[in-house]
Amino acid sequence: MAISNTERSRRSAQGGGFSLQNEAVRAIFWQVLVLGIVALGIWYLVSNTIANLEARRIATGFGFLGREAGLPIGEAMIAYSPTDSYQRALIVGLLNTLKVAVVGIVLATILGTVIGIARLSKNWLLAKIASAYVEVIRNTPLLLQLFLWYTLLQGLPGPRQAMKLGEGVFLSNRGIKVPWPVWDDLHVWVVGALAAGIVGAWVYTRNANATQARTGKRPPVLLPNLGMMVALPIVVWLALGAPLVWDVPALRGFNFVGGATLTPEFAALTVGLVVYTAAFIAEIVRAGILAVPKGQWEAAQAVGLHNNRILNLVILPQALRVIIPPMTSQYLNVTKNSSLAVAIGYPDIVSVANTTLNQTGQAIEGIAIIMAAYLTVSLSISLFMNWYNKRIALVER
C-alpha cells in the first residue's frame, strides 16, 4: 500500500529520503556545486598566474615597498622626496586622495544644498537656472568635465601676466596663489582655546537640552556657544599680542615664491568633483524637502513654534531621514571618483600606485593596494553614515 502524501512530506521534512526532492538536500547540493565551480575557477586563475609570474620572472610580495621610489610627486602633505621609499610615496598619494575627497564632500554638500533649495524657489528664473544646471551637469561624463576644467585652467595666462584677484591672490596657469599665515609657536594656545571652546559649547548645549527637558524653558544657546567658539580664541590671540605674519606670494623671475598654492591639478579635480556631485546632491536635497508634507509646517505653526524651531525640530529631522542614505552613496562616489585624478595628473593613490606597478612590474600588488585603500575608506564612510542614519532614524514602537 502506498504511503500517503502527508506521510511522504513528513519523511522528507525530517531528511529521511536522501533525494533531490528534499529541499534541505537540494540547498546543500546547489551550494556545494556553486562553491565548487567558484573554487575551481579561482584555482585555475591562481595556478595560471603563478605560472605566468614565474615565466616572466616577476617578483611577488610587498618587498618593494621599502625600496627607493625615485618618482617625483608634485604636491605632498607630508615631507617627501624621490629618494623616499615606495611606502611613503603611497602614503602621500593616499593623503592626497583624502584631501581632495574631504574638501570635495564639504563643498559639494554646501553647493548642492543651495542649488537644491534654489530649484524649489518660488522665483521662476532662479528655479529654472538651477534645474538647467542640474540637467547639464548630470548628463555629461565627469571625466569630460575634468578635462574641460583642466584645459580652462591651463589656458590662463602665465605667472608674469597672472590675474590679481586681491591683495596677494594670483590666478595663473601655475594655479592659485594665496597668502598663508606663518606658523608661530604661540598659535598653539589659540588652537587650544578653539578646541576648549568647541568642547564647552557641546557640554553647554547638552545642559541646555537637559534644562529644556526638565523645565520646558530653553536657555539661550546661540550667543553663549558663539562666544565660546569664536570670541574665546580671538581673546586668547589678542592677549598673546596678536602674533600673525602673512607669507605673501610675490613674483620672482618666472614664478611665484611664498604663499600657499592650489595646483591646477588639485583645483581642476576639486572644482570638477564639486560641480558634478553638487548636481546629484541638489536632487537628493530637493526630494528630501518635498518628502515632508506641507501639513507638518502648518501643524507646527499651529502649535506656536518659531520658524527656525520648526525647521530644526520638525522639518529637518524628517527630511534628513530621506536624505541621509542617498547622500551616503554620493559621499562614497566623491571618494571613488577622485580616482579620475590619474587622468589629469594629480598624484592621488591610483596615480602613485599605477606608476609604482609600472616601475616594479608587480601589477597584482599595485592593484591590491588601490583596492584595499578604497575599500577601507568606503567602509569607514558607510559605517559612519550608517551610525548617523541610525541615530536620526524614526523610533518606532
Binding site: N48, W124, T140, P141, L143, T151, V342, A363, G366, I370
Partner: protein, 377 residues
C-alpha cells in the same frame, strides 16, 4: 445645437466680468507672481537676469559671432588670432570624422555610421512599449549581428577592418550597450542569490562580490582588466584589450544593477511568493513567472538611470588607452596645428553625450509616470 457648442455673446461678457484684475492675469500677472512677488524676489530676478544676459551674450559672441568655422588646410593662424574671443569650430569641421570614428578606414566610415544609427534605432525600438514582447529579443539579435558584420566586415564583399582600428562613438555605444546586456542576467542571479534564505554560502558569495565591486572605483577594475587579466590566462591565450575592458564594465555594471533589482525584489509583497508556493510552483517557475515580472517592472526607471551612469562611465576606458569618443577628441588636438583648442573639442563631445543622456533621462521620467498610472488612485 449651436447654443451648446458656442455660447451666446451675453454669456461671454458675463464670464469676462468674472476674470481676475488685469494685474493678476496674463503675462503681467504671471511675472508679478513668479518674478517680482516681493523685494527680495525682485532683487534676485534682476541680479540673475543681469548675469544671465552678460554670460549668454558673451557665450554667443564666443561660440557664434566671433567663431571661426573653417580654415584653409591645416593653417590655424586665424584660429590662434581669435583665441579667447571666438571659438575655433574649424577643429570640429576638420576632425569630426576622426572624433566620431577614430582611425577606422577612412573610405569605409559609412559602416560605423550605420552601426551607430542601428544602435540608436535599437534604443528607440526598446523604448516603445508596443515592442515589449518576445519579438524584442529577435530584433536585438538581428541588430547586433548586423552591427558586428558592419564593424568587422570580411563578409558580403566588405573589407575586414581589425578591431585595433575601431574608435570613437561606436566604441562608446558598444561598451555601454554590451555592458548592460551582459550585466543584466548576471545581476538578476546576484540579486536572487543575495535574497536567498536557505543557502547561506551562495548569499555570502553574492554579498562579497557586490560589495567588493561597489567599494572600489571603476578605474581600479579597468586597470585590473588591462594589466592583471593577461596574467590570469594560460600562456598563449591572449584576449583583446577592448574585450577585457568590456568584461570589466560588465562585472562593474552587474554589481550596481544587482542592487537596483534587489530593491525591486524587496518591493514585492511576501504574499506573492507564498501564493506561488501554495500553488506548488517550483523555485524557478515562481521566480520567472511571478516574482521577476513584477519586480523588474518596478525598477525599469532606476535601471535606465543605471544605464545612463554606465554610458557616461565608459569614458573611463581612455585611461587604459582605448579610443572611445572622449579619447578620440583628446587625441584630435595633439597635432601641433590644433593644440590648445581642447575646449572646443570637449564642448562638442559634451553636446553629444548630453543629447544621449538627456533623452534617456527624460524617457525614464516619462516611464515612471506611465508605469505608476495603474497604482495611482
Amino acid at each position: 445645437m449651436t447654443s451648446l457648442s458656442s455660447p451666446g455673446p451675453d454669456l461671454r461678457t458675463g464670464a469676462a466680468d468674472l476674470l481676475p484684475p488685469r494685474s493678476q492675469r496674463g503675462v503681467v500677472g504671471w511675472m508679478r507672481e513668479n518674478l517680482f512677488s516681493n523685494w527680495l524676489n525682485t532683487a534676485i530676478t534682476l541680479l540673475l537676469a543681469y548675469f544671465l544676459v552678460r554670460w549668454i551674450s558673451g557665450f554667443v559672441d564666443w561660440a557664434f559671432v566671433n567663431a571661426i568655422w573653417s580654415v584653409p588646410g591645416n593653417n590655424t593662424t586665424a584660429c590662434r588670432e581669435a583665441r579667447g574671443i571666438g571659438a575655433c569650430w574649424a577643429l570640429i569641421n576638420e576632425k569630426h570624422r576622426f572624433i566620431l570614428f577614430g582611425t577606422y578606414t577612412y573610405e569605409e566610415q559609412w559602416r560605423p555610421l550605420i552601426a551607430c544609427a542601428l544602435f540608436i534605432a535599437l534604443y528607440v525600438v526598446s523604448a516603445m512599449k508596443r515592442f515589449w514582447n518576445k519579438w524584442l529579443m529577435a530584433i536585438w539579435a538581428v541588430g547586433l549581428v548586423a552591427i558586428g558584420v558592419l564593424m568587422w566586415g570580411g563578409v558580403f564583399g566588405l573589407t575586414h577592418v581589425s578591431q585595433e582600428r575601431w574608435g570613437g562613438l561606436p566604441i562608446t555605444l558598444i561598451l555601454s550597450t554590451f555592458g548592460i546586456v551582459g550585466a543584466f542576467p548576471l545581476a538578476i542571479l546576484l540579486a536572487l542569490g543575495r535574497r536567498s534564505t536557505g543557502m547561506p554560502a551562495i548569499k555570502a558569495l553574492c554579498v562579497v562580490f557586490i560589495e567588493l565591486i561597489r567599494g572600489v572605483p571603476l578605474i581600479s577594475i579597468l586597470f585590473m582588466a588591462s594589466v592583471m587579466f593577461p596574467l590570469f590566462l594560460p600562456d598563449g591565450l591572449n584576449i583583446d584589450k577592448l574585450l577585457r575592458a568590456q568584461v570589466a564594465i560588465i562585472l562593474f555594471a552587474a554589481a550596481y544593477l544587482a542592487e537596483v533589482i534587489r530593491g525591486g525584489l524587496q518591493a514585492i509583497p511576501k504574499g506573492q511568493g507564498e501564493a506561488a508556493d501554495a500553488l506548488g510552483l517550483s523555485y524557478w517557475n515562481k521566480t520567472l513567472f511571478i516574482i521577476l515580472p513584477q519586480a523588474l517592472r518596478i525598477v525599469i526607471p532606476p535601471m535606465v538611470n543605471t544605464f545612463i551612469g554606465m554610458f557616461k562611465d565608459t569614458s573611463l576606458v581612455l585611461i587604459i588607452g582605448i579610443y572611445d569618443i572622449l579619447n578620440a577628441a583628446k587625441t584630435s588636438i595633439i597635432e601641433p596645428a590644433w593644440q590648445g583648442f581642447g575646449v572646443e573639442a570637449y564642448i562638442a563631445v559634451a553636446t553629444l553625450y548630453f543629447f544621449f543622456c538627456f533623452a534617456m533621462s527624460k524617457y525614464s521620467q516619462k516611464l515612471e509616470v506611465d508605469l505608476n498610472r495603474g497604482m495611482r488612485r
